[in-house]
Symmetry: C2
Subunit: 383 residues, 2 copies
């Protein structure tokens, strides 16, 4: 097991009818900005519940935060924060609204060009406004971590950052808010959480039996609940989905293990250039990455097959391949495509992704063996 | 799934050579009290490592905290804290030293008789000194929770309390500190962690598939590593042991589930009256409790048998009984007795435990169906 530090101070408030308690968790006397997206929270009753929770509190609103939240939109929010002297940010919506809120919290206190936060991964952050959230879409795990991903329209870039100062003070998770989600978003959320776990698992072992089993616990749960999540409006499966998505990326699964976030890195470019949903990009890249890195990942993939899919026959190679097939099968079972062709993207189209990795000089993978030429090979396997 | 709140702000610093970094995590300029036990930390090098970490810091020492830490000892520490104007407590040792430190932290700021903290379970705490710890014994999970258990010699009582204000600011876990532990303490730690998980698992289901699997992850890990933990000085198995003990009682496994802490409640009395080690008391009570509450717990016990011991034959009753037998077998495999007779305790001896539960009017169990008469029956099954 590798040395590690784990710190996660987010207060999780989980369950039915918890949204109207939101006021209790926001420090008294602070001027609040309520941030949200395109207005779906006004249709599904979440907005009204939040307003009940904010009764008697001083707040302004900022709406219109889009999926893959834009840097440009965040800058507008920051202007309003300065004019209105905002002291607390309340995000209401999915991971996109929350990611934007985290960036806004840091950028509002940042000296210099806020884009610098993203090009340096967040390490230059010295201060941030406090924030909390009501999360309505189980997927990114943003509600229980200090990471965020922001897109810039102007340059077609999508970059992540993280900093402990943008941990939400609290996150309210009411599974009933998911009842109004379209099937596509439920499918995306399941895949997003699933891949988050695997980016922390499908590498090589450094003897972390507990963390392995904790990861397998989330994976098996996601597989088991997926049919009900997609087909039913059932409280228990939605509750497990919501908690699984948070646990998939709350920092506990990566304690002491070796990670590989290559799928995300390549996936972000597919979103930035071609507009694939985040989860769609992951479902395309992960199987191709595993195929490309089969020799390096096969021990762990075989364990995945044995433990999560109970495949006990065959040798290690057979089992590892079965893990790949079963993962793809899982994606297909919830109508998630796994090929670039499904989005009419050709090899020629992807050249600009390869060029970008070459220009950045990125080196990725748990063995630091993936740079632009390998990205090109992996993208070919995605076609 | 039941509604829940989860909040755990402890910073975990895990791994080799982490102890000398302790100073980094203690707020600057604070006068520190270093608390420890009988001096084993001076023999195994931990004390020297801590002192390196405290170089240049203003601190005093308080030693002599015993296993099952005494209220009377804590009162002496509090006197010294007041005289010396201590502002930060650093616990170095096992769960007993840390439990004492938590109580001292709260009691030093408490108005009125500090015993009141324990008779009310901690709810009256308004303030506490900040604290951190270097944990040297994987067992209680105290390093990652806000609970503590204190014994009073004068009255032969052992009472728990908890409060978010006594969460350690940080806990340093270096698995190498466990190399000098005697086999008995390793055995105790394994059983303590194992039973902690089961108090949050062996009840009835409220549809929490993820939490169930997370619990099973810890249990299976403990079973797998136990032989190496007992027989070898091997870093990886000690590291997994240390992390498993923390994860067994850090508040994550009880999220949204139904718990039953009856084994602990009865076990505490066996320690208070007869001096059994905490884990020894748990290994005696748990199997008897399961036998007594077999009908109520059998669904979950059967799941335990299937998932953790891979017992797939037989019906539910058969599997549930197998879970009981396998748990006892696990205890015996690491030389942990499971009968009161092993300690020469007779039925007549235990009458005072029954009387105490009757006097307190305790009602326990996940179905609130265990009070003094049932405690008497359970203790008979322990003989």
């Amino acid at each position: 097991m590798n040395n590690f530090e784990f710190y996660n101070p987010v207060r999780i408030v989980f369950g039915k009818k918890t949204i109207p308690t939101v006021g209790k968790f926001i420090p008294k006397g602070k001027k609040i900005m309520l941030l949200y997206g395109g207005g779906s929270i006004k249709k599904n009753g979440v907005y009204d519940q939040v307003l009940r929770g904010l009764k008697g509190r001083n707040f302004v609103e900022f709406s219109g935060i889009e999926p893959n939240p834009l840097y440009e939109t965040c800058l507008r929010a920051i202007e309003k924060i300065k004019t209105e002297k905002i002291e607390f940010l309340l995000s209401v919506g999915g991971g996109s609204v929350l990611d934007a809120t985290k960036f806004i919290a840091a950028a509002a206190c940042y000296e210099g060009d806020p884009w610098g936060i993203l090009t340096t991964g967040g390490i230059r952050i010295k201060k941030a406004l406090p924030l909390g959230d009501v999360i309505t879409l189980p997927a990114t795990g943003s509600e229980m971590n200090c990471g965020s991903v922001i897109s810039r329209k102007e340059t077609q870039e999508k970059l992540p950052f993280s900093h402990p100062l943008v941990y939400p003070l609290f996150s309210i998770l009411d599974p009933e808010t998911t009842y109004s989600l379209p099937k596509k978003q439920l499918r995306n959320g399941l895949v997003d959480a699933f891949v988050h776990v695997l980016e922390q698992y499908a590498t090589y072992s450094v003897n972390t039996p507990l963390q392995d089993r904790q990861a397998e616990a989330v994976l098996r749960t996601l597989i088991d609940i997926a049919p009900d999540v997609i087909q039913k409006q059932d409280y228990d499966s939605r509750a497990s989905f919501m908690w699984a998505a948070a646990c998939a990326l709350n920092g506990s699964l990566c304690c002491g293990v070796v990670e590989d976030w290559t799928t995300h890195s390549i996936g972000h470019e597919l979103t930035a250039f071609f507009g694939l949903d985040h989860a769609e990009s992951l479902a395309v890249v992960m199987p191709a990455l595993w195929q490309h890195q089969f020799e390096n990942k096969k021990d762990k993939l075989a364990q995945l097959a044995r433990r999560v899919w109970h495949i006990t026959s065959g040798d290690r190679d057979f089992q590892a391949r079965a893990a790949l097939e079963k993962s793809v099968e899982f994606f297909h079972s919830i109508d998630m495509p796994t090929r670039l062709g499904d989005y009419k993207i050709t090899q020629a189209d992807t050249q600009k992704i390869v060029d970008r990795f070459a220009k950045r000089g990125s080196i990725m993978g748990e063995r630091q063996n993936i740079s632009a030429p390998q990205v090109e090979e992996i993208l070919k396997l995605c076609l």
